[in-house]
Symmetry: C2
Subunit: 426 residues, 2 copies
């Protein structure tokens, strides 16, 4: 019995109970969400993880993606990044290496984290095709499914799989064109493969076989967004929405078959189109959990894309996105280092919290912080801070002359003036 089947049969599993405790909701609420396909809990028969629920009524979750590239293969750094991401508070980890020994790297990463881990089997399939057969377009369909199964057996909890790039989607793309090309590696590889081979995307045409593999190894399917915009001027275009329609259709088949399913979304989206993207995903897919990368609300700030994504993700999560992928400061410029991974996770956690304040009314910590500030209770302020040690360090490195205040306002701290002169507490 898969978790989804258990939920449908009215069985509350340990995982559902754990999610309920973590979220402060009823276990029955979680079961009902899983049974309806509005919540997923990515598990794996091969590895026990700190379970995490993703979906409606739950806290917005943050994913951190790590992995080598062909230019930088440093397994120790990737292991370090996995640790840093977990310490900084990421809810899940995607291991997206495209350089080096895939099996070795994934095993190492999976070994140092107890977070749910995701992957993109397409990457390995296409890159192995380049290594073995000389070009990505020579990728063999059997290899793709074999690699999917192998990755599942390594204890992968969820996989981003580009099922929605079928001939209908590619036709929309080619007829329309793009200002910013494609920014999805899986999308670019698969589209090139389909055009070169004049064949349908096997992940679409052999979707039932894919579901068999995913069900057997109980992998949660995250429907990849290969047509996501890589430039705000391509946002919410026909190719992207066509793929979303196809993915939404397939998500019903996955759900019916007993495979937990998430739908992925863009990408680069201007601020005023974010809400429409969330509404569309929720309506077209029937409220499947929505996994959004950011979105990035402008293209002009490379070096600061963690801030750009935090802006977008605050709004997307406030509007109903359930799962957001972090973006690091080095996005569009370089493979991130551990410090950038940390900054990316923190920025995304801020955004998730800001969204949850709206979506789920989670404002208790803000209330406590407001009062701690008013009362000049610094111990409490540090405790409530998203990064307690960093907050304390920042205050203390510029030594305040008074234990109640900080160097920003010194003795003319407005809160101190209030504390000494008024009494209007709430």
């Amino acid at each position: 019995m898969s978790l989804l089947e258990d939920a449908r049969n009215g069985v509350v599993t340990d995982e559902m109970r754990q999610v309920a405790v973590d979220e402060g909701v009823d276990a029955e609420f979680v079961r009902r969400g899983v049974a309806a396909g509005r919540i997923v809990i990515p598990v794996s028969p091969y590895r026990s993880v700190r379970v995490v629920g993703i979906g409606k009524g739950l806290r917005t979750k943050v994913n951190a993606s790590i992995g080598t590239s062909s230019d930088l293969v440093d397994v120790e750094m990737e292991v370090e990044k996995a640790k840093v991401a977990q310490e900084a508070g990421a809810d899940t980890l995607m291991e997206l290496s495209t350089g080096g020994d895939f099996y070795e790297i994934r095993k190492r990463v999976v070994g140092v984290t107890d977070l749910s881990v995701g992957s993109v089997p397409l990457y390995q399939a296409f890159i192995e095709a380049i290594r073995r057969y000389g070009a990505a377009v020579h990728m063999r369909v059997d290899d793709l499914f074999r690699i999917t199964e192998e990755q599942a057996k390594l204890g992968t909890n969820f996989m981003a799989i580009h099922t929605g790039i079928n001939r209908i989607t590619v036709e929309r793309l080619m007829k329309q064109g793009r200002f910013g090309g494609l920014c999805s590696r899986g999308g670019a590889f698969m589209t090139a493969w389909m055009i070169h081979n004049e064949m349908e995307n096997p992940l679409y045409s052999e979707f039932d076989y894919l579901l068999e593999i995913l069900k057997e190894h109980e992998v949660t399917l995250s429907m990849g967004n290969g047509m996501r915009a890589g430039a705000v001027h391509d946002a919410t275009d026909r190719a992207q929405i066509q793929e979303l329609i196809i993915n939404s259709e397939l998500s019903d088949r996955a759900y019916d078959y007993g495979v937990q399913v998430i739908v992925e979304g863009p990408g680069h989206v201007p601020l005023d189109e974010i809400k429409a993207n969330v509404i569309l995903e929720k309506r077209l897919s029937g409220e499947r959990p929505f996994y959004m990368l950011g979105p990035l609300v402008t293209d002009i700030a490379p070096g600061y894309d963690h801030i750009v994504a935090a802006i977008g993700a605050s709004i997307s999560s406030a509007c109903g996105a359930d799962f957001i992928c972090y973006v690091t400061p080095s996005e569009h410029l370089a493979l991130p280092n551990p410090e950038e991974v940390r900054e990316g996770v923190i920025a995304a956690r801020i955004a998730a919290h800001v969204g949850d304040m709206v979506k789920n009314g989670r404002r208790e910590d803000d209330l406590l912080m407001g009062r701690a500030r008013r009362d000049l209770d610094w111990k409490k302020q540090y405790e409530l801070a998203i990064e307690p040690e960093y907050a304390e360090e920042l205050r203390c490195e510029r030594t305040p002359s008074n234990s109640e205040t900080c160097t920003m306002c010194g003795e003319y701290c407005s809160l101190k003036i209030v504390k000494e002169n008024f009494n209007f507490k709430r």
Copy 2:
């Protein structure tokens, strides 16, 4: 003739022409905006500056506040911060020192920048009262107006003046209470003074005299938001809105008298209340330029409040805020250093741009960047980046193996795959 009077008389001044050129709009559009009180151009008869227009139909402007505190009086650092803020692209500078020799520091700062400079005369008045008479509540009204005039003569272009904290406002505050006290130093000082002396705020009761001074020295009046929330749970409360009503009333009198006027707004505001705050200010004040601090959309991220403010400011500027005050990473923890000033300015500039993409449809640079990425044109990407040198540095310090790509994706760059396989340019 003041600039506002010129505008009303149909005269297009050099300042209006310059603003029109900078913004890519008609000079007559600027003149009409100034004449209607929807746009201000802070000038000073004592100092020539790089003029900047603030208000409806113009680019959102970014202010950077600097200044000493009683704990940290390092004039050279403040001078450095002024330079850094201008280099990083701030549109205006507020010099808000509360420690050391006020006159000396302001002169030095004004001397190293050609940005419009703002001040808060209340700070100096109250702190001099503490120094001379032993307590802020002993501040003398004559000193307050004298200091206002002295600061004007130093070439101050705009002043934040807390006119709206009158007895009606304070009564609302005391009846209601606050979760987070007051975070405005001017607000806390003035409220304490009013309660202690059982007197009306002189900036309200002697508003006509204040206007005389401001008009004589042609200072733009920025109506201070002393009741802004210092905690998201106090946002949009009765005290804040009461002050906004009073300020809006007074803004009519200032406008009628020929003094350019801006209205200031909060502060700490959750994401879902930002739009209401902008609508309120625009409606109550009759579309005066709205100057918002951020707003900060959560209280739990000290150390990262530049990101928190960027989230809020993106939305506030998209909704119609005209002028945003930056927030540095050390807000709530310490007086910022020059590097934090730089980070604060960049984050605020990103937010202003994201807002302008919505409010003013300014998306040309995003289009060019999208195409430059698609075409793997790195020179162009750097040029279009908000911080060209930083973007180039970040990419180049991790040397890409191929001049077309970066280390993030290396040879499996999606844009490279697209460039080599497809032709769907727009």
